[in-house]
């Protein structure tokens, strides 16, 4: 029976090419608009470190102004001071701990013909790579002894290694930055977490830094931060040393804790630390320390662009218009065929037989609309990519994956079936006697 109805459906669709294509187009365009924006949103709200979501925690301690919270209602600062970073890192109370910040260096390639260039770098303690599951192509990160000894070691991204060494295994070679020589200990494989969850400060949608070097080296070398620095009271006189001793926040800290009791212990440790600092006059605000999982942190930092949310709500309404359109057209089609339907009913077709027939017909329209909708989604994403062509990272935000493709088809079929319900019901409730009598 199903195949027979399928055949009937196709015949009926072919019998009204204009009306049918209008319906397919309406569904396809509605799905295309919705899925284009939904895809961008899906990518932006992704959690790239989901497998470790239960064990990673972003650390916040509230050293802010006694009169004003860092952010309403009572949010602790997003980053921490150098004083706290140093103490918390050296305490080593978590299974792993990472303190890091974004900075920049001038890279001086060995080849004298290549001009030096400026490059963003990440100054970080060595457990960064293990903590965030960063994949290596060659070599590895550095261990804690390198941090302690302030060894000039560095890890390059795949792109940077390609640019400097043509993609060869460069482990063991030297790299000069700001006239200082660093030994390359590792080269990463391709790694572009979206969003850049470990530091969402300036722009959560940018590529990770291409060069990594030890935090301790950066501090001794008096590197400035390339990210946000916020101070609630000015740093005193005395250059970099005064800055390090100030209440300015500029360092991101993450810890890895294996289970709930470790998390509780770590929170207690933070509270005890803050209480002890209060005795020497720091931390004037009430106790407000926080550990957030990556998912909580991305949510708290509201990384999804508001424009995307506005567009998504408009796109859903757009799909609604397309559906109303389809319902109207299906209704028109059914009404036009009311004499056929009456005849079939009079000859003994049951309501459920008619119902399945028209639902299958609507289903076909839904599937075709969905397939075209995927095509339009792809076009829509290319359109967005083009509008943002100057923003290089856009290519990572307009990628379709299988989950979105299947969602598109499912949405199309569900939409078409929902649109078909009312017209089909009307068709089934046509009374054969009245319609036939008019003839």
């Amino acid at each position: 029976m199903f195949r027979y109805y399928l055949k009937l459906g196709l015949l009926s669709i072919r019998a009204n090419p204009a009306l049918s294509s209008l319906m397919v187009a309406a569904i396809a365009i509605g799905i295309g608009a919705c899925m284009t924006i939904a895809t961008v949103r899906h990518v932006m709200s992704d959690n790239p470190i989901a497998p470790k979501n239960d064990v990673l925690f972003h650390v916040q301690v509230d050293n802010w102004n006694p009169d004003d919270p860092y952010r309403e209602p009572n949010e602790p600062p997003e980053q921490i001071t150098y004083i706290d970073a140093k103490v918390l890192y050296e305490a080593g109370r978590a299974a792993r701990q990472v303190v890091s910040f974004k900075s920049d260096r001038v890279v001086q390639p060995e080849n004298a013909d290549t001009r030096p260039f400026q490059q963003n770098v990440r100054a970080t303690s060595g457990e960064f790579f293990a903590m965030f599951d960063v994949p290596f192509a060659f070599g590895s990160g550095w261990d804690q002894s390198a941090d302690l000894a302030e060894e000039h070691v560095t890890v390059l991204s795949a792109d940077m290694n390609e640019q400097l060494f043509g993609g060869a295994d460069s482990v063991g070679r030297m790299l000069t930055m700001n006239d200082e020589s660093y030994r390359i200990v590792g080269v990463l494989a391709e790694w572009t977490p979206v969003p850049k969850f470990f530091d969402v400060n300036n722009n959560p949608f940018e590529a990770p830094e291409d060069i990594y070097l030890p935090f301790s080296v950066a501090i001794t070398g008096e590197f400035g931060s390339n990210g946000n620095t916020s101070c609630w009271k000015p740093a005193g006189d005395g250059g970099y040393a005064a800055f390090l001793a100030s209440e300015c926040i500029w360092i991101q800290m993450w810890v890895e804790l294996e289970n709930h009791s470790q998390k509780q212990e770590y929170l207690q440790f933070l509270d005890a630390y803050v209480e002890q600092q209060k005795l020497i006059g720091r931390f004037p605000r009430p106790l407000n320390n926080r550990l957030s999982t990556p998912a909580e942190w991305l949510e708290n930092q509201d990384v999804v662009d508001d424009n995307v949310r506005v567009l998504l709500s408009l796109a859903v309404l757009f799909l609604l218009v397309c559906l109303l359109n389809t319902i109207g057209l299906l209704l028109a089609k059914v009404m036009r065929r009311s004499s056929d339907i009456s005849l079939r009913r009079a000859l003994g077709a049951s309501k459920s037989a008619l119902f399945s027939q028209y639902i299958i017909e609507a289903g076909i329209i839904g599937v075709v609309g969905g397939v075209f909708g995927i095509g339009l989604t792809w076009l829509g994403l290319r359109g967005i990519e083009n509008l943002y062509i100057e923003y290089e990272f856009i290519q990572h935000l307009v990628r379709m994956d299988w989950s979105m493709i299947s969602l598109a088809v499912a949405l199309a079929v569900i939409s078409a079936l929902a649109a078909a319900l009312y017209p089909t019901w009307r068709a089934c409730s046509i009374s054969p006697a009245t319609t036939l009598r008019i003839q």
């Binding site: 009271k233 757009f318 057209l329």
Partner: protein, 404 residues
Amino acid sequence: MEFGPIWRAMLKNKAGFVLIALQIAVTMTIMVNAFAIMQERSNAMGRESGLDEANTFTFYSASFKPDMDIRALVEADLDMLRNLPGVRAAMATNSFPLRQGGWSQGLQLEPGTQSTDSVGAAIYFVDEHGVDTFATTIIDGQNFTPNQVSWKDPEDNTWPAYGIITEALAKELFPEEQGSVVGKTVYLGDTDPVNIVGVIDRLQAPWQDWSGIERSLLVPQRRTPEFQRYVVRTEPGYRDELMLQVEELLANSNRDRIVKGMTTIEQVRKMAYLGDSALIKILTFTVALLVIITGLGIVGLASFNVSRRTRQIGIRRALGATKPAIVRYFMVENFIISSLGVIVGAILAIALNIVMVEAFALEPLAWYVIPIAMIALWLVGQAAVAGPARKASNITPAIATRSI
């Protein structure tokens, strides 16, 4: 007009008409809100930065030798730039309007640490060429004199004693003041007094999303970090050739630093408003597509109605109805549907706008958008129904005599 009969005829086929009316209503909801957003964004994009945008470019220099004499380097660079033919003014500064990154700090009227109300302002570190390079006009007081300009000692965090503020900042700091604010003192940080020597008409802060965008303060101080940002204002028409020339000259001047980021302010503006202009384009496209779909929906349903009523139309024609009367019938019918649609649409549009203003901190929509959208949708409806209506009017009266 035959409103009565048309209305009663419509009641016989409520579902079809309700669907069209709803479709028009939701279309209007989207249109109005999309338009409100586009208007807000294009107003934001239309604000003047204060700079002579067509004739200004910028670049930066990053030194990487540890013991570089930054002060000598900057002075040599500026000397070279200012003596180039076609350069009107040039300076080294920390930031400029539209750049998205800069320095902001609270200004207060009284010294002291906390609890005083402070007004946030963008701070630009400039010299006596700052006012001309930024293309602003002094409307009160005067420019910095060369001996007010100092080089900052890295170990010293004291602020300079002089400042030039924008008119908007002056109004924010001294809302009651009727006369001149020149000579007044404000405090930067807790204790550092800044004597206002001049007021300029306009200079935006570097962050275009900031509510205090018009509040800027120029201070006569030059700094010595390895990273120096230059702004060059040229005579009209000289910009592009000067950019090439400057790049060439600086590349060869000193191998221990790199010169990069050579870009025009027009390009900087484009990047600053990339998201907004993309949003405007996406919304325009969406609204156009939406109107087409709704229009096609109306055409589809009207054609269907015409074909369903062929016999009745024939009978009316046979009984003496003129062709224009038939056309009018469909036009009036569509007008009634559209009116219902736009009235419901107006209510939905306002409701959605209230939700969006709440959720996304948008500006509320301007009242006149509603009547404009209503008229636009009425016109779309009438245009869409015109074709099927004409087809209906061409039905021959003879059809009445035939049976189907």
